[in-house]
């Protein structure tokens, strides 16, 4: 087997180069390029069928790419078997061996690989300690709760003493409460181990809370690869903007106009000043665009600090405890606005609203790319 002995860029733990995968005529992954830093927590986020799990399986060596290369620790592992890649993997369905005790589950791979017994014991003790599963070692998977099973599954990756951890939707089979608990534990685990972790999920909360960087995927293509704050505040295109955030970003179709050196966004006969918006290219009047604003970036009544004020009518109010979500009608658009939970509005009442254009997003109406 040929190895690329010359280090490419040694700070990268995992590098994916021009990776494509197709089943017959169906392209599942297309020309992917990702460099993952040592110790980074990367989340692959997307809805089902976007190729995120396929990409993870390619990194693990469980699927063969049609084109491209994969490097782990500067070693070209494109043709390597999963066990030789220095990875550990945690699956959604846990994939614990049901007939074996937790201890056997953790040690089976090591025993097959011929690791000496005292070394196996050392690793088991360490993993059990980190994951706090010492009391479970003699039990079988069927006797464990979902959370315990997932912990054992993580343990199986842990004992392999590897550099890279791969997680394939590890929390999807758990209920909401347990999910948020284990999410914190995974974050804590990452902080103490400082391993590279690649984590697949369709849950944006998991992605935003855990990730150092998020890669948002759609139809086998990475839409945006950035840190969570950038992804949330400066989405690269309309898809990313709509995918991240709940409730979803408000979108309005309109055109750009210029008036006395100020740029305006015009829709249904109403104009919004774009003052404060940081465009990445020169704005051209007459261009068809989409204006996007998150519910918390539209200010209402007392929250307004300045700028242009419009008037809208409250359609529906959705109190959610800490927050209150207002659905407003303005200029033929319905938009959601997040306000404090204590402030209540009756349907039909009038409110004043203002856009925080520093936090808004503008997309080209045809390419849907950020301007």
């Amino acid at each position: 087997m040929m190895h690329n002995t010359v280090p490419l860029r040694s700070q990268y733990s995992v590098s994916i180069r021009e990776l494509s995968l197709s089943f017959g005529a169906v392209k599942v992954l297309e020309n992917l390029n990702i460099d993952i830093h040592d110790g980074e927590f990367l989340v692959l986020l997307g809805s089902s069928g976007c190729g995120k799990s396929t990409l993870l399986n390619c990194i693990a060596g469980l699927l063969e790419p049609t084109e491209g290369q994969i490097f782990i620790k500067d070693k070209n592992v494109t043709w390597e078997e999963p066990k030789d890649r220095g990875i550990g993997m945690v699956f959604q369905s846990y994939a614990l061996y049901p007939q074996m005790t937790v201890e056997k589950n953790l040690s089976f791979g090591l025993r097959v690989a011929g690791v000496p017994k005292d070394e196996i014991d050392r690793r088991l003790t360490r993993a059990a300690g980190i994951l706090q599963i010492e009391p479970l070692m003699k039990r079988k998977p069927a006797e464990l709760s979902g959370g315990q099973r997932q912990r054992v599954a993580i343990g199986r990756a842990l004992v392999r003493d590897v550099d890279v951890f791969l997680f394939d939707e590890p929390l999807s089979n758990l209920d909401a409460k347990l999910r948020s608990e284990l999410r914190v534990e995974i974050k804590r685990l990452h902080q103490s181990l400082k391993n590279t972790m690649i984590y697949v999920t369709h849950d944006q909360i998991e992605a935003l809370t855990l990730a150092d960087r998020i890669a948002i995927m759609k139809s086998g293509v990475i839409q945006q690869l950035d840190d969570p704050v950038t992804i949330y505040n400066r989405p690269k295109n309309r898809f990313v903007a709509g995918f991240i955030g709940s409730p979803s970003m408000n979108f309005m179709q309109g055109v750009l106009a210029e008036e006395g050196g100020r740029f305006l966004f015009q829709t249904n006969g109403v104009s919004f000043s774009l003052e404060g918006y940081q465009a990445s290219e020169t704005l051209m009047p007459g261009r068809a665009v989409i204006l996007g604003a998150r519910p918390e970036h539209i200010k209402v009544d007392g929250d307004i600090v300045g700028g242009e004020v419009h008037e809208a009518i409250v359609d529906i109010e959705e109190p959610m405890g800490a927050d209150n979500l207002l659905w407003l009608k303005h200029a033929g658009h319905t938009m959601s606005v997040r306000i404090g939970g204590a402030r209540r509005y009756a349907p039909g009442s009038k409110v004043r609203l203002a856009f925080d254009m520093t936090m808004a997003s503008l997309f080209d109406a045809t390419t849907e790319e950020r301007i």
Binding site: N57, A60, G61, L62, E81, P82, K83, D84, I87, G88, M89, F91, Q92, S93, Y94, A95, L96, Y97, P98, Q99, M100, F108, G109, V112, A113, R156, R160, D168
Partner: protein
């Protein structure tokens, strides 16, 4: 005085709630065939046969009890002993081979092969054929004058001898070959369904762990398929006890009585030897054999369900 009161009371009750026997009436009518079959044929027929196995019925069933005479005679009849021996040999080998071959074929089919449907069609088609057809084909293939033996001899090995159907020592193996040809496709199908039911993540996990494929099969997959194996075992086993048509077609129980089986013994005693009592006793023994196989399984199945 009491009469009118009781009528009105009955009417009152009817207004409140129509008789509980009339509730769901259509469903009960629809279930009459099932109830009759279950109670009259399956339960009644079985009890009737067991009861009459303790009588000395000959041409016609008669209720004159003779205790366990029929059973004593049964177990001292050479023909019955041959039948039981045949059943044991055939049964054990049939279980071992059909499970092994069936699983191996299923494992081969599970290697993401091309032409999977073609292979499956080929392996399973004998199962669509009757035992009579199966028996007659293999009777012809194993025919010593024209079949396999003759062909091998004509190729030069003139001393080659493979004549199971006319050699009373090995005749049961001739039947076994035909039975395996007919039935292993089914076992393969059941096993394949079992293999396909295994979570794909298990295979992925074992690849990441670096466990070789054969070890994954033996230490992980086969233990996971225990329920499939048990069910298949019960199906094969209850089929083995019933084996009848195949023997009738392939050897008619011959040479002599060398390939006789319990089901044939029962039939012959009931309908030819005019010795119903013997037939009933022998069939009760068949029932006992099935019970020994099925009862523990059913117990485990239902017990397991209650716990789960």
């Amino acid at each position: 005085m009491t009469l009118p009161i009781s009528i009105s009371a009955a009417q009152g009750a009817q207004v409140k709630r129509p008789s509980r026997y009339l509730r769901n009436l259509n469903s009960k009518i629809a279930s009459i065939p099932m109830v009759l079959t279950a109670v009259v044929v399956f339960l009644g027929g079985t009890i009737w046969t067991i009861l009459y196995s303790f009588t000395n019925s000959r041409l016609l069933p008669r209720l004159s009890f003779v205790g366990i005479d029929q059973y004593e005679r049964l177990w001292s009849t050479a023909r019955w002993m041959v039948s039981i021996q045949n059943l044991a040999t055939y049964g054990i080998l049939s279980l071992i081979f059909s499970l092994t071959i069936g699983f191996l074929l299923a494992a081969l089919m599970d290697q993401k092969i091309r032409f999977e449907n073609t292979f499956r069609t080929i392996f399973l088609y004998p199962f669509a054929l009757s035992f009579i057809v199966t028996g007659l084909v293999w009777q012809w293939i194993l025919n010593p004058e024209f079949g396999v033996q003759a062909v091998v001899r004509s190729m030069g090995w003139t001393s080659f001898a493979f004549d199971p159907l006319y050699d009373s020592d090995i005749v049961i193996y001739g039947i076994l070959i035909a039975a395996l040809w007919q039935g292993t496709g089914l076992v393969m199908c059941l096993m394949l369904a079992g293999l396909r039911g295994i979570d794909e993540d298990i295979w992925k996990a074992s690849r990441v762990d670096g466990i070789p494929m054969w070890r994954t099969y033996i230490f992980i997959v086969i233990p996971m398929m225990r329920p499939v194996f048990v069910t298949t075992l019960v199906i094969i086993a209850s089929g083995i006890v019933r084996i009848y048509d195949l023997v009738v077609a392939q050897t008619s129980g011959g040479p002599g009585i060398a390939s006789d089986v319990p089901a044939k013994y029962v039939y012959d005693y009931m309908f030819f030897a005019q010795n119903l009592g013997q037939g009933f006793a022998a069939s009760t023994m068949m029932l006992l054999t099935v019970a020994i196989i099925v009862v523990p399984w059913a117990y485990l199945e239902f017990g397991g369900r209650k716990r789960g």
